[in-house]
């Protein structure tokens, strides 16, 4: 494909970004990553379990020669916590990229945009490449872009909800005006949701639960790959305008029985 996703000067082979959580096993995760063709997966930063079980072998199940690790600040509820977590993630040695999350509320898991903007400004000052996860608010996305975000990541719906793209018009306003890549993050439930996001002009889609929680994660990952590619092609091709009435696609001239039946 000659239409790669480029973020902060780095080129990715796929417009699909996956997570690494909630899979039934590391083996299933690896199979899903492979089937998806993804070039970037997100990982969380957590305290090491000092009581026995070492959870540390996640990375051995990710082909880091082909797949970039995107650390996130999942689970952070303040700008300070998110900045702290980002600094630790950078020191863990993979890159200075961070998927920035500052969550506002445990029940909805919706972002706290005010704290998110503060943390974005701080981390950019410290040399991070920041990809903030935000609500589907065009104004907030613009503010994040002006602050120097390398991409903006508006949600389609709450994390893990699988509700699909809840506000297509907002997403369109965001993609039409953004000068940095727009990655729709969260809310995708099935392949058509990913295609819709891409048809609306998104540059990529990030999902975790929709694949990890599917009956067959690897098969769903492949479906998502096709959906993202189909949606991207449809966006580039340019869809027809919507009409409320029918418009014949066969010629009207030369009909054997001209004229429509009279309406009573």
């Amino acid at each position: 494909m000659t239409d790669p996703l480029v973020i902060a000067g780095r080129t990715f082979p796929s417009r699909l970004v996956l997570g690494t959580g909630k899979y039934p096993s590391h083996g299933v995760m690896k199979a899903a990553h492979e089937a998806s063709g993804t070039g970037m997966v997100t990982v969380a930063v957590r305290r090491v379990d000092l009581h026995g079980r070492v959870a540390g072998d996640l990375l051995s199940w990710i082909d880091t020669s082909r797949i970039m690790l995107l650390p996130n600040t999942a689970g952070c509820y303040t700008a300070d916590d998110a900045v702290r977590t980002a600094r630790l993630a950078r020191e863990a040695g993979w890159s200075n990229w961070i998927k920035l999350e500052v969550i506002g509320d445990e029940q909805t898991l919706l972002p706290d945009n005010e704290a998110l903007l503060d943390a974005t400004v701080q981390l950019i000052r410290e040399g991070f490449v920041v990809l903030p996860y935000t609500t589907d608010d065009p104004i907030v996305c613009q503010k994040l872009e002006r602050a120097g975000a390398a991409a903006v990541m508006p949600l389609g719906a709450p994390i893990g909800s699988g509700l699909g793209i809840q506000n297509p018009n907002n997403l369109l306003l965001i993609t039409e005006r953004a000068r940095v890549p727009v990655i729709v993050d969260a809310g995708v439930g099935t392949a058509s949701d990913a295609a819709i996001a891409m048809e609306l002009g998104a540059d990529g889609v990030l999902m975790n639960t929709a694949v990890a929680g599917a009956g067959n994660p690897a098969m769903m990952a492949e479906a998502m790959k096709h959906a993202v590619e189909a949606g991207r092609l449809a966006y580039l091709a340019g869809r027809i305008p919507r009409r409320r009435y029918g418009q014949a696609s066969s010629p009207v001239e030369g009909l054997v029985t001209p004229g429509a039946p009279a309406r009573s």
Binding site: T20, T42, A44, A55, L88
Partner: protein
Amino acid sequence: MSAVRILLNGEPRELPHEMSILALLERLGLDPRTVAVELDRVVIRRPRYGETAIADGAEVEIVAFVGGGSTLS
């Protein structure tokens, strides 16, 4: 050398004596290349693990990457 009391990943711990971050990681059986360490809320660069001592009362956080997509409730 006297015992050192620290807060390690939020839990009180007692070390037999003052030691470096590198020594603590070895003691815990952790590979320094797979973790990141914060001492009193400041991230310590990996090359400095050997020379950075953990004093009495220190707060130490040791983290690693785990599976995740977005916030897990």
